[in-house]
């Protein structure tokens, strides 16, 4: 027998098959909406902007880019560039090796769902074909539809599109990269982005 | 009410005053107090050490001795918790009579406040006093809530009793953790135990407490030993002794 069969046989012998699945959790009603999301995001070291009409998302993004740009490339993922229109950003070539993102100052990408209780924004694999970009850039800007803000993580999970797990990864991003490993002192930008901006655009739900 | 006095071994041998103060309080509260000198130890140290066989023998002996009382009251949260909640781990006290006796065994402060609905005794103690909520009373008996319990907090009968004492200034502290006694833990891990106790003494001292009171003699003896060695910290006094003052004296 292989290790797999041995292990599974032992687990099967030990599993009692008693307790049934407790079902879904119904969360308490929590505050939601852009303001709640924005204050949560401030709490985790990020900054929220908007909500702005979809037609002016490009203008809003340009303003935030100007705040953050500190030398180096400004890249927008293709779907983000489609929303934003022309600006100081370029769409990186698809075949770029991860190492090419080393000197990205600002990256702009589309988020899908935003969570008011924890300031997380879902970044789907399909919006991030360049997997390394949001983690190597110095400043990350995520654009989320204002009507995609939900109160809690349960609702966020339910609001994900059907193909959310079809593209290798989905990352919930809540604020910039951080560490408190030296005497519990909070420092932003341990490895990834030093700053995170979220721009909410379009109609509010 | 007829009350059987449950005197823990360390009260019997090391702090007789606490037992006397307990009896005095119960009498002031209108109870008739009985003490059976045949009692020894409820078995807690053996349960704590994992010595099930010895613990079970003492537990069965304890239940037999106290069966005849309408109510049993004990000036110790941890001994009460042992009888009420832990005997089944020794395989003892699960029969109807055992269950009933365990359910009518009370720690002193909960008996006075929750059973007799009485917190004013006319006690007088004009000092700054901190409260040590011993762990087993706190979490096993629910005599208050640990600070980690952020939802559904319970009130503390000991605190309620203290707030009714004339002249007493209650000294609250941010921390409420274990003092480091922990039964055999105190002698198996003496330095770690002492570090825990010294931290509590420091916090109370910094808050200006002159006394620290509590429901468990064992924790207070540990703190007193530390305090006299270190030369700082509030003086420990059992809640029963603190309450047996003023009109109760």
């Amino acid at each position: 027998m292989t290790a797999r069969d041995d292990i599974l046989a032992r687990v099967a012998a030990a599993a009692t098959h008693r307790a049934s699945h407790p079902g879904g959790h119904t969360p308490a009603t929590l505050e939601t909406g852009f303001d709640r999301f924005a204050s949560r995001l401030r709490g985790v070291g990020g900054e929220a902007h908007g909500p702005v009409p979809a037609w002016s998302a490009g203008e809003a993004a340009s303003r935030v880019v100007a705040l953050r740009a500190d030398g180096g490339s400004i890249f927008a993922a293709e779907s983000a560039a489609d929303l934003l229109g022309p600006g100081p950003w370029v769409v990186p070539p698809a075949e770029l090796a991860p190492i090419a993102f080393e000197d990205v100052a600002v990256a702009l990408m589309l988020g899908t769902v935003a969570v008011a209780e924890n300031a997380a924004v879902a970044l789907l694999g399909r919006e991030a074909p360049q997997r390394a970009m949001p983690f190597l850039c110095r400043h990350l800007i995520l654009l989320v539809p204002a009507n995609s803000i939900v109160p809690d993580q349960h609702a966020a999970q339910a609001a994900l599109p059907a193909d959310a797990f079809a593209h290798h990864h989905l990352t919930w991003i809540s604020g910039p990269s951080k560490t408190a490993d030296i005497e519990q002192t909070l420092v932003y930008g341990a490895h990834g982005p030093l700053t995170l901006d979220v721009i909410a655009y379009g109609e509010v739900a | 009410m007829e009350v059987g006095l449950f005197i823990p071994c360390y009260v019997e041998q090391l702090s007789p005053e606490v037992g006397l103060a307990t009896a005095r309080l119960l009498e002031v509260a209108g109870c008739t107090v009985h003490y059976d000198p045949q009692q020894t130890c409820c078995g807690q140290p053996f349960l704590n050490m994992g010595a099930t066989a010895s613990g079970a023998k003492l537990a069965r002996r304890h239940l037999q001795l106290f069966e005849r009382y309408e109510t049993v009251v004990c000036p110790s949260g941890s001994c009460t918790a042992t009888v009420r909640h832990r005997y089944p781990e020794l395989g003892v006290g699960e029969e109807p009579a055992g269950r009933a006796l365990r359910a009518r065994t009370f720690e002193l402060s909960e008996f006075l406040v929750n059973q007799l609905s009485r917190s004013h005794f006319g006690s007088e103690f004009p000092h700054r006093v901190a409260l040590l909520q011993s762990c087993h009373g706190l979490r096993d008996l629910g005599l208050g809530s640990g600070s980690e319990q952020v939802h559904g907090r319970r009130s503390s009968p000991a605190e309620e009793l203290l707030l009714a004492v004339r002249g007493l200034t209650f000294v609250p502290t941010a921390r409420d953790e274990c003092c480091g006694f922990g039964g055999t833990f105190a002698v198996k891990f003496p330095e770690v135990s002492a570090r825990m106790g010294r931290a509590r003494l420091r916090e109370w001292a910094e808050a200006g407490a002159e006394y620290v009171t509590g429901t468990d003699v064992s924790c207070l003896l540990h703190l007193d030993g530390l305090r006299r060695k270190e030369g700082f910290g509030p003086e420990p006094i059992h809640l029963a002794e603190l309450l047996a003052t003023g009109d109760v004296a």
């Binding site: 032992r10 930008g189 | 050490m49 006694f181």
Partner: protein, 454 residues
């Protein structure tokens, strides 16, 4: 016999200053957890749901493991099975060798600590860089982590500054956490970019989709998963949750319990490899199936490694993580030790049984009851058993009990001084003997007159 943890605690936190600093830093996490938990009105219901989900999953673990394997494979991952630590080390080494890997970027994984993966890979000529800042600090220091969430919490900024000066060339005397973190970021960035494989742990594995979930605050695991073309994920077989819908229950509890954050900065759900890359998932048993077969102790397999029980534990905070001398310190470490690491069989005694761990555990593991259960089951040292038997004999006889008390009070002046063989020696370390009680309660009661009314 003095316990190992007691001796180690005197070494690892050698003076009251070190104890107080460690205690304060760790308790700060507990305080943040309290604030975060207070903000969630359904906190207790969430804990209950998480516990029920874990119980259900463990009860049906065979079904969920097979489902996970099938779905992960469909998604393009390769699933490996490791019987024990040696098996994990062998599989990982073979994978890395087959890909001609010389440099690995590794993110935090308590499982690989448990299995001694780093040291083994180094001995095989594969260079491993720990990329979590705290892990990096202890790696450079040449010591194990002392906490499962904040591995270098036992080190002061001065110590870390000196270490970075020596190993990374930061200016002498630089102790500013922000500057030190920036130096580590620069140093590790180049190592990420040249790594040929990323090794990560797994926080959760979703049976329904074959996904693994990796949570970090630094984003280091994501870099390890997105730069090299090989990702090796190591998971204990207990990490499963049945459905994607169950995941939010745990995500809402994990970071709040750990550090008081509402969620970790990065929570990545990875389903299959990214284009042009490989994903290998190593499922490790290493004693877990045996623990599953033990109904009295299997609840410990529900642990999600949040560290809340460490942070609240007054013993952990005063002893330091290294004093536990195993991969996982604190209450959960002491509960797992007898099952997973025979050397840790004495750890269940290293607790005052205050119960705060049980009260904070987000999946409601009965931690302090588990410690007590182990004390009942593990063999007791001969001397202690003999003393206990003798004490129980005395306590079953009221006359012997009274006699023992009288002898004790008579020998009070002797017991208070230090001499070899003093039975009170342990008590006297740090403490004085209680004041002489005068007489027993029984004799005082007899003098008082019986049944006096008010």
């Amino acid at each position: 016999m003095t316990q190992a943890l007691e001796l180690a605690a005197r070494r690892t936190l050698p003076d009251e200053g070190a104890v107080t600093r460690h205690d304060g830093a760790v308790f700060d996490l507990r305080r943040r957890r309290d604030l975060a938990a207070a903000e969630v009105p359904d906190w207790e219901a969430l804990r209950e749901r998480a516990a029920a989900l874990k119980t259900h999953t463990l009860d049906h673990l065979d079904t969920y493991l097979e489902r996970f394997e099938a779905r992960a494979t469909e998604a393009g991952a390769v699933v490996h099975w490791a019987e024990d630590a040696a098996d994990l080390r062998r599989i990982a080494t073979e994978l890395l060798r087959a890909h001609k890997v010389e440099r690995v970027a590794k993110s935090k994984s308590m499982l690989t600590e448990e299995c001694g993966l780093n040291a083994h890979l180094e001995s095989q000529g594969i260079h491993v860089v720990d990329t979590d800042l705290g892990e990096r600090i202890v790696q450079l220091q040449g010591e194990p982590p002392s906490h499962i969430i904040v591995p270098a919490i036992h080190r002061s900024r001065a110590e870390i500054g000196a270490l970075f000066h020596e190993r990374m060339g930061t200016p002498r005397g630089e102790t500013d956490p922000e500057k030190l973190t920036r130096a580590a970021r620069r140093d590790l960035r180049s190592r990420f970019l040249s790594a040929q494989a990323g090794i990560t742990g797994v926080n959760f594995a979703v049976a329904e989709t074959g996904s693994i979930v990796v949570c970090t605050n630094e984003g280091n695991a994501d870099l390890g998963m997105s730069i090299p073309r090989l990702h090796v994920a190591c998971m204990g077989l207990e990490k499963l949750v049945p459905r994607m819908e169950d995941l939010p229950v745990f995500l809402r509890l994990l970071a709040r319990s750990a550090t008081g954050q509402p969620i970790t900065a990065y929570t990545s759900v990875v389903t299959g490899p990214r284009e042009g890359a490989e994903l290998h998932i190593i499922v490790v048993d290493n004693g877990r199936s045996a623990l599953l077969a033990d109904p009295g102790h299997r609840s410990a397999l529900g642990c999600i490694r949040c560290g809340a029980c460490l942070n609240t534990c007054p013993v952990y905070r005063r002893a330091g993580g290294h004093a536990y001398e195993g991969p996982i310190p604190g209450p959960i470490g002491a509960v797992l030790a007898p099952a997973l690491h025979p050397a840790g069989a004495a750890l269940p005694h290293a607790s005052s049984l205050c119960g705060s761990c049980t009260a904070v555990c987000p999946v409601r593991i009965d931690l302090h009851d588990q410690l007590l259960a182990w004390r009942r089951e593990l063999p007791r040292p001969r001397g202690e058993a003999l003393l206990g038997w003798l004490a129980a004999l005395v306590l079953r006889s009221p006359s012997l009990y009274r006699l023992a008390g009288r002898l004790g009070r008579l020998s009070w002046p002797i017991l208070g001084v230090r001499f070899p063989g003093n039975p009170a020696a342990s008590w006297l370390r740090g403490r004085k003997l209680p004041r002489h009680p005068g007489a027993s309660f029984a004799s005082r009661w007899a003098r008082r007159g019986q049944g006096t009314g008010p």
